[in-house]
């Protein structure tokens, strides 16, 4: 299957337009207008291949060709916006439990987002980022092996949820309390879990991309049959690290999947101001990489694309780029009000016309695996569970003072020991200025 996808993607990477003043000649008749066809020279097989080390697949030509565009890469989809299967050959080969779990995780993610978003608005946590409109990326997590390493950007909590990160673990991190796996050292949504093979989130955009290539290199060297999954947004793809990562993953043949959530906006900057050319997918082909573009609101298309990408990564030790086209329905983060740069109507239209949760629900209902009663009962149970976990996390104690100094290095260095001693003395000396009643006890 992956070979077919790739062959199609590559076949379309031919010139579609030439500058009029310089009639270009090419063998790709399909891509050219009739007037240009008449000027065509001999087929490539009759022409001489270049011998330059930098581009061994090129042929000599007596026509000066100036290209601007390749033919746009198609967007793979499995079901329509009503959750109807578009081609019976694409029927997902999955069990009811498997499909329902994905759907339930989409709902849970949505419920958690609503409550934590409100919590930030009420000043109970400092920051949050929702996943609204992009929940179908959970399909990508479902296509991975649980031991594939994940490097996220920040809007991929659903992949962790899919792998079994508990509501308590999410809430403890957002409240930076004593049970937070990150020991209260990062902003909300910067989750990480060694047990679930999910690398701790790094705030600066795109740093995770070359790192993912490195982790993939380590996997390749170990001989494990795993790959790395690396998420990022179309905005992050403007960073130098994105280009560096694709190039180095390609040259080192690293088993990594770069998964671009192209949600149309980088905070307020729309995609058409972020980059030119045929989206992010066109970059993949440029770096000599297998590339797929997929409807990112279609769980089963995302699932299928990731399955095929994973085969290429694991079996061929090659990187793959997936561009999942979606729309960010929520604000960028709690620091953003998107009504300043897009109309509420536009957002509402997306919610109504192409909602990944609705599409999945309809697909499940068509299969007879879900209904209104299940929906109502699940949503109610889930809201209770989220609120319970939320309240418990809010009440838990904050990290102990020593956690401020631990883990800077594997062991405390002399200056850390000195700083810690100084702080402890101050706290002891001035209890009226240092209320530690809400701190966890030192272990």
């Amino acid at each position: 299957m992956y070979a077919r996808i790739t062959a199609r993607a590559l076949a379309r990477a031919v010139p579609s337009k030439a500058v009029k003043a310089t009639p270009a000649l090419t063998t790709s008749a399909k891509a050219f207008s009739t007037s240009m066809l008449s000027m065509n020279t001999a087929p490539k097989k009759d022409r001489v291949k270049v011998n330059f080390p930098g581009a061994l697949d090129s042929h000599f030509s007596q026509v000066l060709e100036i290209r601007e565009k390749m033919e746009p890469i198609d967007t793979f989809r499995v079901m329509d916006t009503d959750g109807k299967l578009l081609d019976s050959s694409l029927e997902p080969d999955v069990t009811e439990d498997f499909a329902v779990k994905i759907y339930k995780d989409m709902l849970t993610l949505n419920a958690m987002d609503l409550i934590l978003y409100e919590a930030q608005r009420q000043g109970r946590i400092s920051f949050y980022m929702t996943n609204a409109g992009e929940e179908a990326y959970i399909g990508s997590a479902a296509a991975l092996d649980p031991e594939d390493e994940i490097f996220g950007q920040y809007r991929e909590a659903g992949t962790l949820l899919y792998r079994g990160f508990t509501l308590d673990q999410f809430m403890n991190q957002c409240y930076s309390n004593e049970l937070d796996l990150g020991k209260g050292r990062q902003m909300p949504v910067h989750f990480g879990s060694k047990a679930l093979h999910f690398q701790t989130i790094s705030s600066p955009l795109a740093t995770q991309l070359p790192q993912a290539a490195g982790a993939a290199y380590a996997i390749k060297r170990s001989g494990r049959k795993n790959c790395v999954m690396c998420y990022f947004g179309e905005g992050a793809a403007s960073e130098g690290d994105f280009h560096a990562a694709l190039n180095i993953a390609s040259t080192t043949s690293a088993p990594v999947i770069f998964f671009c959530r192209n949600n149309g906006f980088a905070i307020s900057t729309p995609a058409n101001e972020q980059y030119k050319g045929d989206g992010i997918a066109s970059r993949g082909v440029g770096y000599g990489m297998h590339t797929i573009r997929v409807d990112g609101n279609d769980v089963w298309a995302v699932y299928k694309a990731t399955q095929e990408a994973r085969k290429i990564a694991v079996e061929l030790n090659r990187p793959v780029l997936i561009e999942a086209m979606t729309y960010r329905v929520g604000h960028h983060s709690t620091s953003d009000d998107s009504s300043a740069y897009r109309s509420k109507k536009e957002v509402e239209d997306w919610k109504r016309n192409d909602n990944p949760i609705v599409r999945m629900r309809k697909w499940l209902e068509n299969k007879g695996w879900w209904d209104e009663a299940k929906e109502t009962s699940h949503k109610s149970q889930q809201r209770t569970a989220v609120l319970k976990s939320f309240a418990a996390a809010e009440k838990r104690k904050k990290p102990a003072v020593s956690e401020m100094f631990n883990d800077v290095y594997d062991k405390l260095t002399p200056n850390l020991i000195e700083q810690k001693r100084e702080l402890e003395e101050l706290i002891k000396k001035y209890p009226e200025h240092y209320d530690t009643s809400n701190y966890a006890k030192e272990k």
Partner: protein, 376 residues
């Protein structure tokens, strides 16, 4: 500072040694080194050979250790530090990368997160600025930010500081930059023993370590003790070394400037002016302030010498820490920083020569400091 610079400008007329240094800095330093220090067991090694043997020994000892960077494999390294390693370990352990500092540094960091022990070579530390986010924001902080769950056992290394005749963008010391970052360890070797022992310690360290080598020292030979020749030889990171004991004044220095300080000390002892104690910092972070405090309490006078810039420099940090310590009360004269000039490094030979401290400048500052007395 400005005083020192004026003096430097006056005394730093190009000498025969400096002319030689320009035409063949490695030879000049080799001659200087050999003249000054004799090996006890007769074994000498260049700093380059010492670094090479450290890499080879650690790669043999642990197959998780691998070397990566631009030109490190087929070309044997831009400065030949990795000579022969590709032949010995093959292309999966010695990796030539595309020219993308942020890319290969990120790759190295990611592979360290995943359990490998990369040695990431920068052709010079100047180029690592394109990757500084990976070094500071990811390598240094991830262990902390992950709640101690993700280790980053990585060594970043390459030549640092001023070389000869390579201008502003190739002649900068990054000791103060990386030395300011919690989560990083930073070492700056001077001689061959330092180079071998510190690089081996860096590779074995579970934390990210920045190794600041010096291009002009690569070809300089130094004696190697019996212990330093062993596969088990490591130098503890975070400990300075008293290279020369003295009673009248302390000079603290790192990297190539240690050699100038040693020569100045020798000169002044010969002249009967003073017995100078020279401390080779070896580690920039953690900084071994205790060794400096102990020395200052003995000599009552302190000078710092480095090739980097004065503002917020290594010397500035030492001054501040000494003022905050009990050693302050023992000072008989103000501490003086001898540093590179506060300008981007000029290319023209006459100006470049004026921009960095040398033995004569150090000797002059020692004499001046000895003549001063607080309150007098």
């Amino acid at each position: 500072m400005s005083n020192i610079l004026k003096k430097a400008a006056v005394v730093s007329i190009p000498t025969v040694r400096q002319a030689l240094l320009r035409s063949n800095p490695l030879l000049a330093n080799a001659l200087l080194a050999k003249r000054s220090y004799n090996s006890k067991n007769g074994v000498e090694m260049t700093v380059r050979e010492a670094l090479n043997s450290a890499l080879e020994e650690e790669m043999r000892a642990d197959d998780k250790v691998y070397l990566m960077g631009e030109e490190v494999g087929l070309y044997n390294g831009a400065y030949k530090v990795s000579k022969g390693l590709l032949d010995k370990f093959g292309p999966s352990r010695v990796i030539d990368t595309p020219i993308t500092e942020s890319g290969f540094t990120g790759l190295a960091v990611g592979s360290a997160f995943a359990g490998l022990k990369p040695v990431c070579e920068f052709m010079t530390w100047n180029f690592a600025m394109q990757a500084i986010d990976q070094i500071v924001n990811s390598a240094a902080k991830t262990h902390y930010m992950s709640g101690g769950n993700v280790n980053c056992p990585i060594t970043f290394r390459g030549p640092n500081g001023a070389a000869a005749g390579v201008g502003a963008q190739h002649s900068q010391c990054f000791a103060a930059w990386y030395g300011s970052v919690p989560g990083l360890k930073v070492v700056s070797p001077w001689n061959s023993e330092d180079a071998k022992g510190l690089l081996k310690a860096a590779i074995r360290d579970p934390n990210p370590v920045v190794v600041l080598e010096n291009e002009l020292m690569y070809g300089v030979s130094f004696p190697m003790s019996e212990a330093a020749l062993s596969n088990d030889f490591v130098i503890e990171i975070g400990k300075a070394k008293v290279e020369r004991e003295g009673t009248d004044i302390t000079i603290v220095s790192h990297s190539r400037a240690v050699g100038f300080a040693m020569a100045a000390a020798e000169l002044l002892e010969k002249e009967g002016v003073a017995k100078v104690e020279v401390i080779n910092l070896r580690s920039i972070r953690p900084l071994d302030i205790d060794t400096i405090i102990k020395s200052v309490k003995k000599t009552n006078r302190l000078i710092t010498v480095e090739g980097g810039w004065p503002q917020h420099g290594v010397g500035s940090e030492i001054c501040a820490q000494i003022m905050e310590s009990e050693a302050f009360d023992y000072l008989d004269a103000p501490v003086v920083r001898v540093t590179g000039a506060d300008v981007p490094t000029p290319y023209a030979q006459n100006l470049e020569t004026l921009a960095f401290p040398d033995t004569e400048v150090i000797a002059r500052v020692i004499k001046r400091t000895l003549a001063k007395k607080i309150g007098a």
